[in-house]
């Protein structure tokens, strides 16, 4: 097979000689074929003051490989990408994180409050990018 493909360079760069970094598009590398997005909510209440309120949302994607995932918490219309921590003085904090396997994405939200019962009620939006078509 010959060396073939296509590339589009950024403005001001010669598409025949510029580096890949100066390309808007190049077929040299695999492209993501599609994706899916959705929303979720995690809510939980701590059993006692000083103990964490922890909840999880598990997405069984069953793709058989680890996809590229971006997850955001939503607060008053603003998106915050996780992992994320929120501190409220010396007595309160929240943490959001995720781990992804070949078949699952597990999103965890946890809040601890040292002067009151902690609770979590957070809305999320997630984006999963696929490497394969026919999803």
């Amino acid at each position: 097979m010959g060396d073939y493909g296509f590339r589009i360079s950024e403005d001001g760069y010669d598409v025949k000689t510029c580096s890949d970094l100066n390309c808007v598009v190049t077929s040299k590398y695999p492209l993501l074929k599609g994706g899916i997005q959705g929303t979720g909510n995690i809510s939980a209440t701590a059993p006692a003051v000083g103990e964490p309120a922890t909840g999880t949302l598990t997405i069984d994607h069953n793709l058989g490989y680890i996809p590229i995932v971006r997850i955001f918490t939503i607060s008053e219309g603003v998106y915050y990408e996780i992992p994320e921590t929120v501190w409220g003085g010396d007595f309160y904090f929240e943490i959001y994180y995720e781990h992804t396997t070949n078949n699952q994405i597990v999103i965890t939200a946890s809040s601890t409050n040292y002067i009151d019962i902690a609770f979590i009620n957070v809305d999320l939006i997630y984006y999963i990018s696929f490497e394969q078509v026919n999803i």
Binding site: I36, G38, G40, N41, L57, T58, D60, H61, D123
Partner: protein, 95 residues
């Protein structure tokens, strides 16, 4: 859109976006730490693709789906499934 809800309370806790869903998407599931697999229900608005055919689900709720997809602040979590009727309703509309 596939809405995932608690079969105990009817509360919606997650969604998968889209209008036409393939088998692969239908095989995906979402659960929370306080519900078992059996306690999670699915409510579909749109179509599923099966054997080359599109099967319709709850398309009377299509305008609501468009609201969910828009950038407005109408959130599927503000709705729930009425466990008696199986209908999708705004939370405060259910007694």
């Amino acid at each position: 859109m596939i809405l995932f809800y608690s079969k105990i309370t009817g509360d919606i806790f997650a969604t998968i976006g889209g209008r036409v869903h393939s088998d692969k998407q239908l095989e995906m599931s979402i659960k929370t730490s306080h519900l078992s697999d059996e306690q999670v229900g699915k409510y579909i608005i749109g179509w599923i693709e099966k054997d080359g055919q599109k099967i319709e689900y709850n398309t009377d709720k299509f305008s609501l789906l468009e609201e969910f997809e828009s950038t407005s602040l109408i959130n599927p979590m503000d709705y729930k499934i009425n466990l008696e009727t199986g209908n999708l309703e705004k939370k405060n509309a259910i007694a």
